[in-house]
Amino acid sequence: MSSEGDLLHVVTNDNIPEGRKRFGRAIIWGTAGLTVLVAALQVMQATGQAEFGFVNWRPTLYAFCTWAVALCWGQVLIRGEHGKRTLFVLPAAIFVAALTVFPLLFGLLIAFSDWNLSSPTGRQFNGLDNIRQMWTDPFFWNALWNMVLYSAAILVEYAIAFGLALLLNAQIRARKFFRVAFLLPLMLSPVAVSWMIGKSMLEARYGPLSRLARFFGVENPSFFGSPEIARATIMVMDAWTYIPFMMIMILAGLQAIPKELNEAAKVDGANGWRNFWEVTFPLMLPVSITAILIRIIFKLKLADIVINVTSGGPGGATDTVTSFIFREYRERSNVGYGTLLAFVYLVIIVIAMTFLMKLADRWMRPRT
């Protein structure tokens, strides 16, 4: 969809007076200068060279906002009609850039320092100490390995979601009711889910699921006792919330398949099973891969359920990277180490996702 070249060809007659252009440039550079000036003054105060009576860094923020507005306005002033087009994308671009690029750069600075927010000494650069600590931190590697396991569970989720989508796509009555019912888990807040299912229904003594397990002959059902079972329980709870998401994407794909294809296969003598594997499934491959990739992205952010139900226990068996860093910060308020872990995680994710997307690209090519 990202086509180069204007789709809308508009010939405009822009006669912008020189004075207006000059004014436009003046406000952009003027506010930029103002921002730099205010920031410089604040840095001077922060480093203790001078005292201007700033309470916090808000003045810099306000100056930056003025600059952002001036930049947008200036586009129209300087470039006329073209500036107005830029105005569609520019606000979002400035917003995202300001809220990600700057914090990321700042985070890079924090990542290589020892910074305990509650201690009075403040930030201290400590070079590669954090990396060394990470290298010998078994809990972090354990959390990373857990993420691999959690991501692997997506295949099972995918299979269930595909099955449900096929059922919803079949000739059934009350389809809308089933669709709404299947969708509801996605709407619930993970915190409420972790309370409802994780704490209440899985309660070892009188939770309904424990009763069910006992009914089937399990002695002393405990869903968070052993590491493997605890991990599986978290996987199931997360799957419960997100299966609808994959299901709906797959359902949309199924509905887009022309009926004629399946009918043609039936005429050619394919039974249901072969029809699925040789017609439906290959046609669904692109949608499936998109759904799985998006699901992986969401899975990598998994934290709320773990934080609220097990807080990583038993012995870090259910920890995700996010929940581990969350606890690392909550317990020791060490910002530096946590940030470094997060950055390492980001690098790993970017590499892994690039690899997966390349792989997906190669898989999809020959078939479509």
Partner: protein, 307 residues
Amino acid sequence: MTATTQIFRDSEADRRHRAKWWTSRIAIYGVLILWTIICLFPIYWTITTSFKMAPNVMKGNMIPFVDYQPAWLGWRSLGLSPDTIWAESTVREEFMKRFMNSAVISVTSSALAVILGSLAAYGLSRFNYRFGYMRNSDISFFFLSQLILPPVVLALPFLVLYKELALLDTRVGLILLYTLTVLPIVIWIMRDQFGSIPTELEEAALVDGLSVWGAFATIILPIALPGMVAAFILSLVLTWNEYFFAALLTSTHANTLPVMVASQTGSQGISWWSMAALSFAAILPLIVIGVVLEKFIIKGMAAGAVK
């Protein structure tokens, strides 16, 4: 020979076919109903538990009026039962405050994301940009790549920055961050929407003398409105349920509902009934939205799945 012989009847093969059809029906509906139970039982459990008392919980009673007599215990502890609703209640005030925080933050950030995201998606689907070396596909990638960014990476830098900017524990702070997190999703959905609208529409409008923005506002916006509603609702769901940032960046003033729910579990001996009441109150708005606006949610999630 005998005139009464039945001429038309189901052949052996047909009857087998009929039987097979019935078994497949039963299997399909069986699985559908089983999964419906799996999806709805936790919600049912929450509602019923909020009307239980301690012994009911211990005994594991399930069906109100049959197993046990419903009581207002859970809702009374929230100050929302019939006998306490008119009285002063600090818990209810607390709850309402959190509820308002959640509502204001999620609605504002979703609206902001839909506005910013729709404009950007429209621009990217119609015009050719060059920001420095970045062209359209690069700009699109720049927006969508935010989706991969895990929240932890931003969390701690934001914590420190917000502390310096005095934005910690404020609604504005959370709104900014939430807008950022849902923006890529909105752009993804809206890009799809605008891409499916033919450019001839605007060309006609432009010939008739409208400006680019005028054509966008009067011609395109009404057509793309269902898509925008879908994006808005999806953002609303995500921001209403967000816990991680809210737990890190708020403490007393700007807490959202998930933070309140989570903070209750830590107290000594969980009172299940009041937790159930609180959880149910927290998820109720989204259940309503899910049931009423299901069409839009599905539309939003299906965007991008089918090209």
